[in-house]
């Protein structure tokens, strides 16, 4: 095992593999920054280039590219409030709020440092999990996946707004997300649901245009209304020392970062949940970690913990997602599905062999994730403070560029004008939600999880009838869901009685 670990490292450090990894990082860097141009598509486009490479070189290239996408995607989310990737939308809530307070540097520093911690934890988990991978993944069947999705939605819906009315709106937004997710052909009877005879709606709504619309449009409108720069009239002097402060924040809340990394790794391991889920659960956990109601109210207005959580989780999930890919030949996410194509091209058969005969290759992947994240984060820090200066650039230079990115970013989802219409429609919805004080996070999570909830419920009932409700992990998750809903209520009551006691 230790031998394989070292051998894996030496494999990556061969100059050719290392050079390909650097090339991959350079590509992934830009892909992450540009909204709409996703990591998945780019992986698919780059696949043909690996024919001539050896397995280690090929994976250094693909994984190097893939590992940094989530890191640099955070940068776009923080600076402009546009999700750089579908998997980095949660960083917007507090990251962009910090940028508007003139703390862009600190937010970026925190996002990058937590990304690094997340990647390391994910890689470590991958390395440690190798002996227990099979039983772990096999313990989670369709009923368990259904329950995880339910816990996730309950978690976010109950946490993202305050008071009874806030909770009502949280669940309403979550339910709306689930409803929107039913658009398209259903997988049971093949009925085209809510498509109104339009071909565009047939395959359901694409996540990226919806995310871009709901998050970016309100920010753009607000930027135009304010008329200044993103960071308003804040003094620019503080931007320069910000990044280091963000790194310190990561260590100030070190255990939170670690816990969120573990959440990300776990979601990554579960095939079928998809990469967009991890960030929101981590965000929910970060919010929940606030001890008092007053502390909790700071979230969404620029609490650094709201950056650390998703920042860590969306990088750690990659290590996790490699686990089922390597162990079963079954991809844990859509990007892993494309990596799987890479396995074949390189003459490797993913499956139990990867944990025995090809263990060194598997470890070389772990090392690639670690090294490429370290390199990206170090490289980013060199010009992080310059990036942060973008937030004090006059608005009228930024607005047209952001608008172009927003329109093209959504158009690239299906190369169809329908994507742009969809983006604008959800832009209006997003604007109304922001104006009315409704939380957007539960809506997004509902949309992401809608198909998973419906399908896994059907599968559970079709396969096990009602016996699935008695499975032990299902029961534990059910208890967790109830606790998650009750917790904020109890917390509110306790703090109220405490303040009464003070008075």
């Amino acid at each position: 095992m230790i031998d394989a670990l070292l051998e894996g490292l030496l494999l990556v450090l061969q100059w050719k593999a290392f050079a390909f990894m650097l090339l991959g990082i350079a590509l992934g860097f830009w892909v992450g920054l540009l909204p709409g141009l996703g990591g998945v598509t780019t992986l698919a486009l780059m696949l043909p280039f690996i024919y001539a490479m050896s397995p280690v070189e090929g994976f250094a290239f693909l994984l190097g590219m893939h590992s940094v996408v989530a890191t640099t995607g955070d940068i776009t989310s923080v600076l402009f409030g546009i999700p750089g990737e579908g998997t980095t939308a949660a960083t917007i809530l507090d990251g962009h709020a910090m940028a508007k307070k003139g703390q862009a540097g600190r937010a970026l520093g925190a996002a990058l440092a937590s990304s690094l911690v997340g990647a390391l934890v994910g890689a470590l988990a991958l390395a440690l999990a190798i002996p227990v991978v099979r039983p772990l993944v096999l313990a989670f069947g369709s009923p368990e996946l259904f329950m995880i999705a339910i816990v996730g939605i309950a978690f976010i819906a109950s946490l993202s707004a305050q008071g009874a009315r806030g909770m009502l709106r949280g669940f309403l937004a979550g339910g709306l997300g689930l409803m929107v997710a039913t658009i398209g052909q259903d997988p049971q009877a093949g009925v085209a649901r809510y498509t109104f005879d339009s071909l565009y709606l047939w395959s359901g709504l694409d996540l990226v245009p919806v995310l871009i619309g709901i998050f970016a449009i309100p920010e753009i409108v607000d930027l135009i209304v304010r008329g200044g720069s993103i960071a308003g009239e804040m003094p620019g002097g503080r931007l320069n020392q910000g990044a280091l402060e963000g790194v310190k924040d990561t260590f100030r809340h070190f255990w939170l970062t670690i816990r969120c990394s573990l959440i990300g790794t776990f979601i990554g391991i579960m095939p079928g949940l998809g990469g967009a889920v991890a960030q929101w659960l981590a965000y929910g956990h970060a919010v929940q970690s606030a001890r008092t109601v007053e502390e909790r109210e700071g979230f969404g207005k620029g609490d650094v913990r709201g950056v650390l959580g998703p920042g860590a989780a969306n990088n750690s999930k990659e290590g996790g997602a490699l686990i089922p890919t390597v162990a079963f030949g079954v991809p844990g996410s859509s990007s892993m599905a494309i990596l799987l194509g890479g396995f074949f091209l390189l003459g490797l058969v993913p499956g139990p062999d990867m944990l025995t005969t090809h263990l060194a290759v598997t470890f070389s992947m772990v090392w690639t994730i670690v090294l490429s994240n370290v390199i990206t984060v170090v490289a980013c820090f060199l010009f992080l403070n310059h990036l942060a200066r973008l937030t004090v650039v006059r608005g009228h230079f930024l607005v047209p560029v952001i608008l172009v990115l927003v329109f093209i970013g959504s158009y690239t989802a299906n190369n169809h004008y329908g994507d742009v219409v969809l983006m604008l429609f959800f832009g209006v919805v997003g604007y109304l939600m922001v104006a009315g004080g409704w939380p957007r996070a539960p809506f997004v999570l509902g949309l992401v999880l809608g198909k998973i909830v419906e399908n896994n419920l059907y599968i559970s009932v079709a396969r096990y009838e009602f016996a699935w409700l008695t499975r032990p992990i299902v029961l534990v998750l059910l208890a967790l869901a109830v606790a998650v809903i009750l917790y904020p209520l109890i917390q509110a009551r306790r703090s109220r009685s405490r303040s009464n006691a003070h008075a």
């Binding site: 707004a161 009315r165 004080g437 059907y458």
Partner: protein, 157 residues
């Protein structure tokens, strides 16, 4: 603004979920079960939300999220919001009429000249840079299929 937006949203959800329930009733059981199981509670919650808003209009509820800035107030804010909408609508129209490449150049140039009141030289150079980047990445490298605009079609190009 606050309660008005909530009211529009709540009423919208009541209508949409109501329609969704009615539409779903025609489907076979397996297809309609889930939309109904979600749609009915959403409809009820939306009704509750709307009633709450009507009965107690003063009650505010904050999401833990960014709030629209209140630097600009009243008429100014409304006027600027409409301006923002107009820019986006104009850009959308330009995309349909002229196609993406020309519309992008037009937007950047017009925005800088009209909204930003920059000089022609600054506007021109900035437009050129943005357009060149767009063209290299999305057209040359990624071969995105940008449909030609309607105007080009009318001119027979």
């Amino acid at each position: 603004m606050h309660s008005k937006a909530s009211l529009i949203l709540g009423a919208g959800i009541v209508l949409v979920s109501g329609a969704a329930i009615v539409i779903a009733l025609d489907w076979p059981l397996k297809a309609r079960l889930f939309p109904l199981a979600i749609g009915i509670p959403v409809f009820c919650m939306a009704m509750a939300e709307v009633l709450w808003g009507l009965l107690d209009p003063a009650a505010r509820s904050e999401a833990m999220e960014f709030r629209l800035s209140d630097e600009a107030q009243g008429g100014v804010a409304v006027r600027r919001t409409l301006l923002a909408v107009a820019w986006m609508a104009g850009f959308s129209a330009a995309i349909v009429l002229l196609g993406f490449p020309s519309a992008i150049a037009l937007l950047v140039l017009c925005y800088l000249r009209l909204q930003g009141r920059e000089g022609w030289i600054v506007s021109g150079i900035f437009t050129l840079v943005v357009w060149a980047l767009f063209y290299t990445v999305f057209d040359r490298l990624l071969h995105l299929p940008f449909p030609a605009g309607l105007v080009q079609g009318w001119l027979g190009l």
